[in-house]
């Protein structure tokens, strides 16, 4: 069973073919807070650079990431996600 971070990575790679991708599991920062679960894997930061973001607004870039994640983006799976989406030249 792939970890949540591995599933996030696989979906973003497949949909956006990123030049670089970093996925940080922030779940430990949220223990005791609503949305945190035993076993973690609920809070993530995704830093992604992809040529696919060229010419897209910030909203459109982030929407593209949400779309790539599909059903992973549910409160009982990914509870919270920080997204930094840029083009490769930045």
């Amino acid at each position: 069973m792939a970890t949540m971070a591995e599933q996030i990575e696989a979906r973003i790679v497949a949909a956006l073919h990123p030049a670089s991708l970093e996925i940080i599991d922030d779940s430990h920062l949220h223990s005791g807070h609503a949305g945190h679960r035993a076993g973690g894997e609920s809070h993530f930061t995704v830093i992604v650079k992809a040529a696919a973001f060229e010419g897209l607004s910030r909203v459109a870039r982030q929407r593209a990431v949400y779309t790539a994640l599909g059903d992973l983006m549910a409160p009982d799976r990914i509870h919270a996600l920080v997204i930094r989406a840029d083009t490769p030249d930045t």
Binding site: V59, Q62, L81
Partner: protein, 111 residues
Amino acid sequence: MTDPVQARIAHLVGNNDVVLFMKGTPLFPQCGFSSTAVQILDRLGVNQYESVDVLSDPEVRAGIKTYSDWPTVPQLYVKGEFVGGSDIMMEMYSSGELDAMLDELGVARED
């Protein structure tokens, strides 16, 4: 728009210069991202805005996700337009774009 919840959201967004859909209230945010959004508006001197606590309104909590095809809260609207969530607010605040946009759109602010 026949869905009453979508109509309510459209009414809120259409009749207030600045609307923040959030978890909790500006005084007592119930989520770190909502708290960030409130602090950004505060720093920019936006002190008269409509805040909607989605935790106390399950219909709006569900409806706001489809309204802008955006799966998360907070969500900021200025002059009827969806601006983004807390990541975008933070990026635009840091770069000065949010400040410039509020000026451009003539949003009332405290000096």
